[in-house]
Symmetry: C2
């Protein structure tokens, strides 16, 4: 019983994940990679942040962040400013160009998601999103468990 649920979950989550990824990639076109869009997304909502913070949130090595931020800074999407109090720290902020690009991308993604969501009944999609949000919470706790080990 539980085994069947696990099988169905594994199958469908891999499928949806992959397809969603390539639909988003398609929406972003040549403007942004999926990873850069995700970074832009985080920074747009968090205001200003540091490399270490990004590395923790995205669970990648700090040098991966240095690399991706450098590419985005070269394109004028992000600015680096050194903290005057603690000169080890570098604050990352979006430029106006970065914000614009994010908002354009976000519009296209919302359009995509709308075209998907409207194919469901409202109660169904609400229940789905509720469970999805609980799932996000469970995955977060999972991450903490691992760190404690």
């Amino acid at each position: 019983m539980i085994q069947e649920l696990i099988n169905r979950y594994v199958t469908v989550s891999f499928q949806v994940h992959k397809k969603a990824e390539s639909l988003i990639k398609c929406q972003l076109g040549n403007d942004l990679t999926n990873d850069q869009h995700y970074i832009l997304r985080y920074m747009f909502n968090s205001g200003s942040c540091t490399s270490t913070e990004l590395a923790e949130v995205f669970e990648v090595n700090k040098s991966a962040i240095t690399a991706i931020i450098s590419r985005m800074a070269d394109r004028g999407l992000i600015e680096r400013t050194r903290d005057e109090n603690d000169r080890r720290v570098v604050y990352l902020t979006l430029t106006d160009e970065g914000k614009d690009l994010y908002q354009k991308a976000q519009e296209r993604i919302h359009y995509l998601v709308e075209s998907i969501i409207t194919q469901f009944e409202e109660p169904e999609i609400k229940a789905f999103i509720n469970t999805y949000e609980k799932l996000a919470q469970v995955l977060d706790n999972k991450k903490l468990e691992e760190r404690e080990e």
Copy 2:
């Protein structure tokens, strides 16, 4: 109203996908990358396939498939055999080693998913998976629409 649902959906799906990705990566360890695991997964279920088929399913360029299959063949996970009737075609099959590795990986992922699923009530998770499966269907149609454009 719908705007709020879209926002919640976008936010939560990005979060869950990223976290699931890194949890799976963690389970796979140094044995397999997520992409290689996904290829193994497809091949395990489909028996034998071709590069062109993989390129279509995963929506990537054929040369990306050549590259990843070459790496996996070098490791002895996959074998290439040329079709004797149509000598342009190369059939890809899993070696015993490839099957073993997939099954080991799959056990670990099932264990992970079980530990997540059991934190939900059965009716809730069933309803969730049902909608998830419909969603997979909708995304597939989306892909077809795009092709027709």
